[in-house]
């Protein structure tokens, strides 16, 4: 078992009367690519900001790379590569100046790595930020987060706005850094990304951690994905009770077709999001 790179114990953060996160506990080990799933407003960004010392939390303890988020946030920020969900920069600055500013603040010469990243992500460094689309601003944000080759990456919705080719290149880079020992904390809506690249994932809903496990175990559940044509009408839902009970319930109906299978991660994700107990109709 590797050492913990992220340790969050009982984190509680509220914005006045508004809920942020409540009693959240999780750990991420060195070398992991860890997924953090949750709907909008679930508390993903609040958790990340608390981790980096950007939001003052009321309760709990957060350590990144062994450093306390409350008292050592500057050193944490120096050693972490963070990409926020919103990629905003100073509109009148050129891309190369933004990248250089981020490097200078770390007191590092990251020019070689930045060049490599810009080339692979096809970032035009001569352009002004105001001339860039959202996708291109996201790419600049990726370069700023990666150029200093940190030991820990924290990404908040990194691929929104990126085209599929750039998404693939982004994850290729993640895997390369991960192979060199870097840890990655990936907050995302995109389940296919989590399933493909993450070893473990946590699901957060309404500020509370509802599940944390390996992606493999998350998909191993007693829940079943049921699709059938019952009494002439098509039905599609997740069933979490006993199969015998389901069969008994269906006995009095006209079932012309039925498929009962293991649910996809998407189904589990939706289940945790909506908090349904027994069965859940899909869209």
């Amino acid at each position: 078992m590797g050492k913990n790179v992220i340790e969050i114990k009982n984190l509680t953060k509220n914005y006045g009367k508004n809920r942020g996160v409540t009693h959240l506990t999780l750990t991420v080990e060195e070398g992991e690519i860890f997924g953090f799933l949750g709907p909008n407003g679930a508390g993903k960004s609040t958790t990340i900001r608390s981790m980096l010392g950007l939001a003052r939390f009321q309760e709990g303890e957060v350590k990144l790379l062994g450093m306390d988020a409350k008292t050592q946030s500057v050193e944490i920020l120096r050693q972490v590569g963070y990409m926020p969900s919103e990629a905003w920069f100073y509109p009148d600055m050129r891309v190369r100046d933004v990248i250089a500013l981020a490097a200078k603040m770390r007191g590092m010469d990251c020019s070689a790595e930045a060049e490599m990243l810009c080339e692979r992500l096809q970032v035009d460094q001569t352009k002004k930020i105001e001339e860039l689309s959202l996708g291109n601003r996201k790419k600049v944000s990726i370069v700023c987060a990666m150029q200093h080759q940190p030991k820990l990456f924290v990404f908040d919705e990194p691929t929104s706005g990126l085209d599929p080719l750039m998404q693939a290149e982004f994850f290729k880079l993640i895997l390369e850094y991960n192979a060199k020992g870097a840890t990655c904390f990936l907050s995302s809506h995109v389940l296919s990304e989590i399933r493909k690249y993450c070893g473990r994932a946590a699901i957060i809903r309404e500020g509370k951690l509802v599940k944390i496990d390996t992606v493999e175990n998350l998909t191993k559940t007693s829940a079943k994905h049921v699709r059938m044509i019952k009494d002439g009408a098509e039905e599609d839902f997740i069933y979490r009770g006993k199969v015998n009970d389901l069969l008994r319930e269906l006995a009095g109906h006209d079932i012309s077709d039925i498929v009962i299978e293991e649910p996809e991660l998407e189904d589990i994700f939706m289940h945790f999001y909506d908090g349904a107990d027994e069965k859940e109709a899909k869209e």
């Binding site: 500013l101 770390r106 007191g107 590092m108």
Partner: protein, 280 residues
């Protein structure tokens, strides 16, 4: 892992750490605004000095009229200095314009320094750079002070150059006192607006300009309305009034001391608020 450890690994070179990165960044960000304000205000004032010879004759005719306009003359100091002399023309007209322009520039600069990051959505980029909030605050504030100094020093030098070109003798001592006291005024107005900026997530340029204009109006009014004479302790335009300086009135040290106190309180409040602010 400390910076020193990384140096050993050949990846981090502490010699390359630029401690004033944010300061120079802020200076670059505000250069255009400074140049516009400086060229407009100081350019106009400089032009007025150069135009003096062409308006001298008409000013000498109007000097007596201006000095007998009652409250208006008192408000603008024309009862004590004649606009028919270069010194009087400069102190009652040009220096007032320079002070008002400088105060407005400091107000705009201060009111945007912190809040612009939030309404421009750049706060997340700035806040995740490895710098303490105290360092961010200090370097931003220092950039404002630098522009105030540049505004006053270069402006005063331009006016001294204008007098030399016009072959007019104006007291260098008066000019220096005026420049220094107007610098204090700019720093005070800028600091108050800087504090407002720390408490806000929106563009507060309008409020900043309002602060400068109200202070200016207070100075004019407290000179003619005895009932509100105590406003002289509130408005920073009082202690930098060029007419008072050029007529060698006793320098209002009380008002200046209050100004220093206001600057320190504003800075302290801004620091307190900025440290407890969450990124949202």
């Amino acid at each position: 892992m400390t910076p020193k450890d990384v140096t050993k690994a050949g990846h981090w070179d502490e010699r390359q750490v630029e401690t004033m990165v944010l300061y120079s960044h802020e200076m670059k960000q505000n250069l255009k605004g400074f140049l516009i304000w400086f060229l407009v205000i100081v350019g106009m004032c400089f032009g007025c000095i150069l135009l003096y010879s062409s308006v001298e004759a008409s000013l000498s005719d109007m000097g007596d009229i201006f000095s007998q306009m009652g409250a208006m003359s008192k408000a603008f100091g024309m009862d004590r200095l004649s606009v028919a002399t270069m010194g009087g023309y400069f102190a009652t007209e040009i220096a007032m314009l320079h002070a008002l322009g400088g105060g407005m520039f400091a107000a705009i600069l201060g009111s945007n320094l912190l809040s612009k990051e939030e309404f421009g959505h750049t706060i997340e980029f700035l806040a995740v750079l490895p710098a303490s909030r105290g360092k961010i605050l200090a370097q931003k504030y220092l950039s404002m002070i630098t522009y105030c100094i540049l505004f006053q020093v270069i402006g005063t030098l331009c006016y001294a150059g204008g007098f030399a070109i016009m072959d007019e003798k104006v007291s260098a001592e008066h000019l220096l006192i005026m420049g220094a006291s107007q610098l204090l005024m700019m720093v005070e107005v800028g600091s108050i607006c800087f504090c407002i900026s720390a408490f806000s997530r929106k563009n507060r340029m309008g409020i900043g300009l309002g602060v400068a204009m109200i202070f200016f109006a207070m100075d004019v009014m407290c000179r003619v309305v005895p009932a509100i004479e105590d406003f002289k302790y509130v408005t920073p335009f009082y202690y930098c009034n060029a007419t008072d300086i050029f007529t060698e009135e006793a320098f209002p040290t009380g008002s200046a001391a209050i100004a220093v106190f206001v600057i320190l309180i504003s800075l302290g409040l801004a620091g307190f608020q900025y440290h407890r602010k969450d990124l949202q």
